[in-house]
């Protein structure tokens, strides 16, 4: 069963197409990565799928709801973590969640539960302006989880976070996925997408240019070879589809010439570069 179905979706701003005729589907419980450089249309897509912005054309169903005509039914079924840390900074963490709880008709016990889930119980009464970036990000996730959504949209959830906090957030995402929550994730970090996502879509200039599992993309766009670094510092590549690849490798190992062996499989970053024609960070 598909949690998200998108068909020929487009959105233009003043005649310029930010999202151009994209189609894809996300299965329930899947972690789906949406990757692209700045301005590729990732956030615009999330805003359309979460009912914040009307598409110019096309259709989309999220959690079984039409994003144009069934917004009131859709919104309690989804959670959104924006790329901006859009919290009420003069309010405490608990007050932020209590406000969200009133909008989503949740009780205060649920506020306590999500604070516990993201590890903010001890700092719940502090003003958000005194929170670190990592704490704000955890509070954003707590707010998105408050009403137990079926689908969560995470827009760059680890951007600007230190590696330790980034790892905590990734662990949280995996936990949610294991609980059956569908996750639509945008990120700049290819390693993160590789580690978390069941499938990824590459977006370039508003269009989807590739969509598959990270493993398939890497195989399809990488070399089927092994990179060998020799003891004398030289390196060579052995193609695996070559008939005597096994013999070559065995000889080098037996002669004690091998210092390191690496797969020559492409990284997701390299795959993106090949497909989109430019680096993700550009």
């Amino acid at each position: 069963m598909n949690a998200i179905e998108v068909e020929k979706l487009s959105r233009a701003f003043n005649g310029l197409k930010a999202v151009d005729n994209i189609s894809f589907a996300v299965e329930a419980g899947e972690i789906f990565g949406f990757l692209g450089h700045n301005g590729a249309g990732k956030t615009t897509t999330i805003r359309m799928l979460s009912g914040q912005l009307l598409p110019t054309s096309g259709r989309a169903r999220v959690a079984g709801c039409d994003v144009i005509n069934e917004q009131r039914r859709l919104k309690p079924l989804i959670g959104v973590v924006s790329e901006h840390q859009n919290l009420y900074e003069r309010m405490s963490g608990r007050e932020n969640l209590e406000f969200a709880a009133r909008l989503y008709k949740q009780n205060t016990q649920r506020v306590d539960d999500v604070l516990e889930q993201v590890g903010l119980t001890n700092r719940a009464k502090d003003n958000v302006r005194n929170y670190s970036n990592g704490m704000k990000q955890r509070l954003l996730i707590a707010r998105a989880l408050l009403h137990r959504p079926q689908i969560i949209f995470l827009d760059e959830p680890t951007r600007g976070l230190d590696p330790v906090v980034g790892r905590e957030i990734r662990r949280l995402i995996l936990d949610l996925s294991q609980q059956g929550v569908t996750i639509f994730l945008t990120t700049h970090y290819m390693e993160e997408a590789d580690q978390l996502c069941c499938r990824v879509a590459f977006l370039s200039e508003g269009r989807i240019v590739a969509l598959d599992t990270p493993a398939n993309l890497k195989v399809a766009h990488g070399k089927n070879a092994i990179k060998v670094t020799l003891a004398n510092g030289e390196s060579l590549s052995i193609a695996l589809n070559d008939g005597d690849a096994g013999e070559q490798l065995e000889k080098l190992v037996n002669d004690g010439q091998v210092r390191t062996l690496h797969s020559a499989e492409a990284t997701l970053e390299e795959v993106f570069l090949q497909i989109a024609g430019r680096e993700l960070s550009e």
């Binding site: 917004q71 859009n86 009420y88 003069r90 969200a100 909008l103």
Partner: protein, 356 residues
């Protein structure tokens, strides 16, 4: 519309607004000005000695009270006919002609006529203080509303037509403070409530939540209404002795509220950040407040221009209702304010739809 969503947004804004120093300043400024004015002009009286010409053939209690009043210098006029001339000759603030049986008629409840000349060449503050003094003295004669009929005659009619006659000092200040309250809400509070959501991107969160754009806007408008009612209510309660017609004054303030909240929504929809609001709020506030200032001696063109500002009609309606006038005299002004409110709401709806 989901009322619980609107209530949640209003509740959040009511608490959050007082933690925002810009909004807090906007909210308490009218109360601060009222307090400042009370400190500077206790009782609303100027500190200079006022000369009053009195013609009292019956030696009534009122002329004795006037003579005993602080800061007052009473000069006796030979006859009622010379009272007005004496006022001009001595450059007094005014004159009072007390009929022969005044005290007896007051006691009998006959509401005798008390003729009062007002020197319009004197400052507005002095004129207002004189009017207030006479009203207080007459009220103190017996414990009954309107013991006598006060007939006000302007000594210099030409100046009088340019002045805001018939109101006491507090009754002139009160409309100004009420318009200031409404102006602050319309030009600063409501726009900032909306603009801050855009600026901090919390509007994205609200739009992704079960709240619709209509409910978000209604929540903001309700916050503006709540704060306006609170501050305007406090101003009216502090100045309750100057409110002549409570129901009509309340209706007038409600109509004014509709206008300023709608205007605030337009500003909040069009502007994008706090700096823009701060820049525009000053200009808008000056335009809104201008008609509520006493406008003696202003060029005719400016007087005419002020009639294009809705708060001109709101000020007039407030002055009349505070002065005790009924609906028959104020309905025209109220109709203009209500019409402007509808236009402003239509503009707000258009601006918000355009944004979406």
């Amino acid at each position: 519309m989901n009322l619980s969503v609107i209530a949640a947004i209003t509740r959040k804004d009511l608490v959050d607004a007082i933690r925002n120093r810009y909004l807090l300043t906007a909210l308490i400024t009218p109360l601060f000005v009222a307090l400042l004015f009370r400190i500077l002009f206790p009782g609303g009286n100027p500190r200079n000695l006022l000369t009053i010409i009195v013609n009292d053939s019956g030696n009534s209690a009122i002329s004795t009270q006037l003579a005993q009043a602080p800061q007052i210098n009473v000069v006796t006029a030979g006859s009622s006919a010379t009272t007005e001339t004496e006022v001009q000759k001595r450059n007094a603030i005014g004159g009072v002609v007390v009929p022969a049986n005044f005290d007896a008629d007051v006691t009998a409840g006959k509401q005798p006529e008390l003729t009062i000349y007002v020197n319009n060449k004197k400052s507005l503050f002095e004129q207002a203080a004189f009017r207030q003094l006479l009203e207080q003295q007459v009220r103190s004669l017996v414990k009954r509303p309107e013991p006598a009929r006060l007939v006000w005659i302007d000594v210099d009619k030409e100046t009088s037509e340019q002045s805001r006659g018939g109101l006491s000092l507090n009754q002139m200040l009160l409309p100004l403070l009420l318009i200031m309250t409404l102006g602050m809400i319309g030009a600063m509070v409501v726009p900032l409530l909306l603009v801050e959501e855009k600026e901090k991107r919390t509007l994205d969160f609200l739009l992704a939540s079960p709240a619709s754009l209509k409910e978000i806007v209604a929540g903001k408008a309700l916050t503006g209404v709540a704060y306006s009612l609170l501050i305007a209510g406090l101003l009216l309660v502090f100045n309750r002795q100057n409110v002549g017609n409570w129901p009509l004054t309340s209706v007038t303030i409600l109509f004014g509220l509709l206008f300023v909240v709608a205007m605030g929504l337009v500003m909040g929809s069009v502007l994008n950040n706090t700096m823009q609001v701060n820049t525009w709020a000053g200009t808008v506030l000056i335009v809104l407040l201008a008609p509520s200032f006493p406008s003696i001696g202003l060029p005719a063109a400016i007087e005419t221009a002020m009639r294009f500002v809705p708060t001109y009609y709101l000020t007039e309606a407030l002055k009349l209702s505070l002065g005790g006038s009924g609906l028959s005299k104020t309905w025209g002004h109220l109709a203009v304010v209500l019409g402007c409110s509808f236009i402003a709401f239509a503009a707000a709806v258009w601006a918000l739809r355009r944004r979406n």
